[in-house]
């Protein structure tokens, strides 16, 4: 089963991918680290920030690791570099 999701890149991760967002097809059941590896396979330069990012799925933070996610069509995924608002 695969599903189509929107991926948003911010700050350093947007500079590394050259993209603000894209729509991709991924496995609908996977872990956050598998989702990250999928993104890195599309944008190898992303591996530079492996240790400093988390993901957001449906606008909720998820650490990279053995964390299971179920994705549905139209879900938002985001790559979240260290925050620096305020």
């Amino acid at each position: 089963m695969t599903t189509e999701v929107s991926v948003f890149y911010f700050a350093k991760s947007a500079e590394l991918t050259g993209l603000k967002s894209e729509t991709i097809r991924v496995a609908s059941e996977l872990t956050t680290v598998e989702l990250w590896q999928d993104l890195v396979s599309r944008h190898p330069r992303l591996s530079a920030v492996r240790d400093s990012v988390v993901l957001a799925v449906r606008q909720e933070y998820l650490a990279l690791g053995d964390v299971r996610v179920s994705l549905r069509d139209g879900d938002e995924v985001a790559v979240i570099p260290p925050l620096s608002g305020g």
Partner: protein, 152 residues
């Protein structure tokens, strides 16, 4: 009294426009409150000896709004007398000395809004998906990292 004045307001604005302290202050004013506490974050002119020309902010806007509303819910649980809460955060280019963020909170007595404003800026820096790039003289730049961010 509270009912006559309408509901507590939870106000959020992310904007490319210049921020106004008076606007934030007015938006949290209420007749039953004796105290308004405000925090203004402004752009500094240097970082570790390098001259900062300007800052650029970007946000994951819908998630930033929802994370701010989580902070507001925390504030209302911890300081139940807090009346109105307002955060304005600027996006895009912010010149030196201009405000990047203004937080305003009103309460009947001052201790609550003073503590809540401090909690709000501390938590905002750790949880709200907004990013700042410092642009230095000579066209260098650097994405910043808040020390409040938990995962780095």
């Amino acid at each position: 009294m509270a009912e006559a004045e309408g509901d507590p307001r939870d106000l959020v604005k992310l904007t490319h426009d210049k921020l106004s302290v008076d606007t934030v202050s007015d938006s949290v004013t209420c007749p039953s409150c004796g105290a308004i506490s405000i925090f203004i974050g402004t752009t500094r002119n240097s970082f570790e000896g390098m001259k900062v020309v300007q800052l650029e902010y970007e946000a994951y806007i819908p998630m930033a709004e929802s994370e701010l509303r989580k902070i507001y819910a925390d504030i209302r649980a911890r300081w139940p007398t807090v009346r109105h809460i307002c955060v304005h955060h600027r996006l895009g280019v912010v010149p030196v000395t201009e405000a990047s963020v203004i937080i305003g909170i009103s309460s009947p007595h001052r201790r609550d809004s003073l503590e809540a404003v401090q909690y709000c800026i501390d938590t905002l820096k750790g949880t709200v998906p907004i990013w700042k790039k410092e642009v230095y003289e000579a066209d260098e730049s650097c994405w910043k990292e808040n020390k409040e961010c938990q995962w780095t």
